[in-house]
């Protein structure tokens, strides 16, 4: 799945799929983003959005989770079942449950709505930038290895015990950072800045949610411990050896 994104990422680098039921808002955002040099496709409900994801190749999907009918969360779940495309969700300001559920369901990050188009663009760029790196170096076979885990950052591919890991783009970024500093503690602040491309907000639990998902996907070490250790108040540490 991940390799699919890499090969197509070059042309999809600035393609955004915008899924929101507010027609006027979507039009304005589209106008704004296009002036910023980003190609935008719009969908006005979950079903449309889902079929667009399936048919097109997008660098990122921006999804409003507060939609009626096939609601945002359900759309998110279904997209994630079929595609590892980065997903940025729009959530209501102050609604933490939505955020955590969204991240659990595999969203990469969130932006509180209403937000300024400038903030949205910055967030989209941050996520796109991280995926673009891969396309520029496509085909390189340099890899990182710690214990049973092997990662090809340029191809955005990872294996554990020889089994390919299905990681979302954000999960991959975060794991890569930890692996590069294996044995050392990496603070949540630094993980947020380098992995999510934004400063850590107060009471932000995104990193924790992502970490628990990565842990689930990695499984445990031979002695039953998790690969990723939580250093209380310090951050997270990838256990070396």
């Amino acid at each position: 799945m991940i390799s699919l994104v890499i090969t197509e990422a070059a042309e999809a680098k600035l393609k955004v799929l915008l899924i929101d039921d507010d027609v006027e808002l979507v039009e304005m955002l589209k106008e704004y983003l296009e002036r910023e040099g980003i190609t935008v496709t719009v969908a006005h409900d979950g079903e449309q959005g889902l079929s667009a994801v399936m048919s097109g190749d997008y660098g990122i999907v921006v999804l409003d989770v507060m939609m009626p009918r096939l609601n945002g969360m359900e759309t998110l779940r279904r997209i994630r079942m079929k595609s590892p495309v980065p997903i940025l969700m729009l959530t209501a300001r102050g609604d933490d449950t939505d955020r955590i559920i969204g991240l659990e369901l595999g969203a990469d990050d969130y932006v509180a709505k209403p937000c300024s188009p400038r903030e949205l663009t910055a967030r989209i760029r941050a996520i796109l930038r991280r995926t673009q790196v891969a396309s520029l170096h496509g085909g390189s076979s340099q890899y990182l290895e710690v214990g049973e885990l092997r990662m090809w950052p340029l191809q955005r591919r990872a294996e554990c015990h020889g089994v390919a890991l299905q990681l979302t783009s954000t999960e991959f970024n975060l794991l890569e950072i930890l692996v590069r500093h294996a044995g050392q503690s990496v603070s949540k602040k630094s993980l947020s800045e380098r992995g999510l491309g934004r400063p850590l907000a107060r009471f932000d639990r995104s990193i924790d949610v992502h970490m628990s998902k990565i842990r689930n996907k990695l499984g445990t070490l031979a002695d039953g411990r998790s690969y990723i250790y939580t250093d209380y108040r310090q951050g997270y540490r990838f256990i070396k050896g």
Partner: protein, 457 residues
């Protein structure tokens, strides 16, 4: 144990104590008097049998036979005295005892333990004098015997201590049981109220009170009912708040997007300004509708004394609706007529009917017509107005929900302009005027909203 328990307990116990001591004292007094009147006479039941037997012997066997009988001895020796107060066996007799006995006989029918028998020219009085151990069960009589063996008058009548103490202890138990029985449900109620005050309305008193069937259990049931209602109310308020914040967010998001566009490309000043203005108007309208709704919910309807002719009111609405419908390629038809006068807040009624009509225009397909039916019902002093469209209708299960704020049909195809407040306002406004409103799906296609509005006679 709460204060109430102790109050109940003390009052119940005091009442029981008073009763016990009262009854005890009364019985003691009666016995005391009786024993004073007949002091020295055994009044127990066995004594009466012996007296009876002795009386029969005397009557039919004569004095000699009686003497023989008495000599055989018994636990209850029967004394037989003649008029002079001498015993026929010449046993010593307490003169005072005989006197009180005779007095008792003279005053009324003699007790069973005293008999007077006439035989061989003498009138004998038969009785059994009191002895130690012949206590009659309730009173503790201490009896002093003198040297002659004949019992003397009892000197002390002690208060019945053992029964009174037993009764007092029993009353202690029953008083606390009764107090507990009353105070427990009240304590349950109290804790339920406390948790309700703390915001937890998920208390069920019925499950705590179990099978109890009385006024207190009814109170518990009422509490549960109230808590349920409050829960529903709070839930709906919470949902309303959530919906409002969501609805306010949309125009805000559009405002921010418009401002962002303007920043990015200051050349488009005019069109961006227009957009911003449009969003401001929308928010203003939303806030206005919310205010109307909250006023209606709070029962603040303003003056309800205005009167108007219904046909004039409707004409206004129809003219506007026709204009709007024509622009969308739809038509509005009116059938029937109604010239009744109505009373109330005319502006509110106007608003209510207009909302329903505009709603119909909005959902009607192009090239269809919206029908407004009018009729009068002089019988119940009301007028009827039905608005019919050929739109998608509403699923049967959601027919009641369309009058809820922010309801949007699950089958709504497009995102429509509006907030889902129109019908909610109409519903409350019509209700405030004592009318009724309901929605039904048409047999063919579309929705029929029917209103009954009271008229002036």
């Amino acid at each position: 144990m709460g204060r109430l328990f102790w109050k109940f307990f003390i009052f119940i116990w005091l009442a029981q104590l008073t009763t016990i001591w009262g009854v005890g004292s009364a019985i003691w007094l009666i016995r005391h008097n009786e024993s004073r009147n007949l002091s020295g006479v055994d009044t127990s039941r066995p004594a009466s049998y012996f007296v009876e037997a002795a009386a029969s012997t005397l009557q039919y066997g004569g004095a000699a036979a009686l003497k023989n009988l008495i000599k055989t001895g018994s636990r209850h020796p029967v004394y037989v005295v003649d008029e002079e107060g001498h015993d026929i066996l010449d046993r010593p007799v307490d003169g005072a005892t005989v006197e009180t006995m005779l007095l008792a006989i003279k005053n009324g029918p003699p007790p069973q333990t005293i008999r007077q028998v006439s035989a061989s020219g003498h009138t004998y009085t038969l009785f059994v004098p009191e002895t130690t151990g012949s206590s009659n069960g309730f009173f503790l009589n201490r009896f002093g015997s003198n040297a002659s063996g004949f019992p003397q008058r009892p000197q002390v009548h002690l208060f019945p201590v053992v029964p009174v103490v037993t009764a007092t202890l029993a009353s202690l138990i029953f008083a606390s049981l009764l107090a507990w029985y009353f105070s427990k449900p009240i304590r349950n109620l109290r804790s339920a109220f406390e948790s309700a005050a703390a915001g937890n309305l998920n208390v069920s008193l019925i499950s705590i009170m179990g099978k109890r069937r009385d006024d207190l259990a009814d109170l518990g049931r009422d509490f549960d009912h109230m808590a349920g209602k409050l829960r529903g109310l709070i839930e709906s308020q919470r949902r309303l708040l959530h919906d409002i914040s969501h609805e306010l967010r949309s125009p805000l998001a559009r405002l921010q997007a418009a401002i962002g566009l303007l920043r990015q490309h200051p050349g488009n000043l005019e069109s961006s300004m227009e957009r911003i203005e449009r969003e401001c108007v929308r928010m203003d309208r939303l806030v206005g509708e919310l205010l109307t709704l909250s006023k209606l919910e709070a029962g603040v309807t303003g003056s309800m004394q205005q009167t108007a002719n219904f046909s004039e009111l409707l004409e206004d609405i129809v003219t506007d609706a026709r204009f709007e419908a024509k622009a969308q390629g739809k038509a509005v038809e009116v059938t029937g007529r109604c010239h009744a006068a109505i009373q109330g807040n005319i502006e509110l009624l106007h608003h209510a009917i207009e909302n329903v009509v505009r709603n119909a225009v909005k959902y009607a397909p192009i090239n269809s017509s919206i029908i407004i039916e009018l009729w009068e019902d002089p019988g119940i002093c009301a007028l009827g107005i039905a608005i019919l469209d050929e739109g998608p209708g509403v699923p049967e299960t959601e027919l009641d929900l369309i009058f809820e704020p922010f309801y949007r049909g699950s089958s709504t195809e497009m995102r429509t302009d509006g907030y889902g407040l129109g019908l909610a306002i109409a519903y409350r406004a019509i209700k405030a005027h004592g009318g009724s409103i309901r929605a039904i799906n048409r047999k063919t296609r579309g929705l029929r909203i029917e209103m009954l509005i009271p008229t002036l006679p």
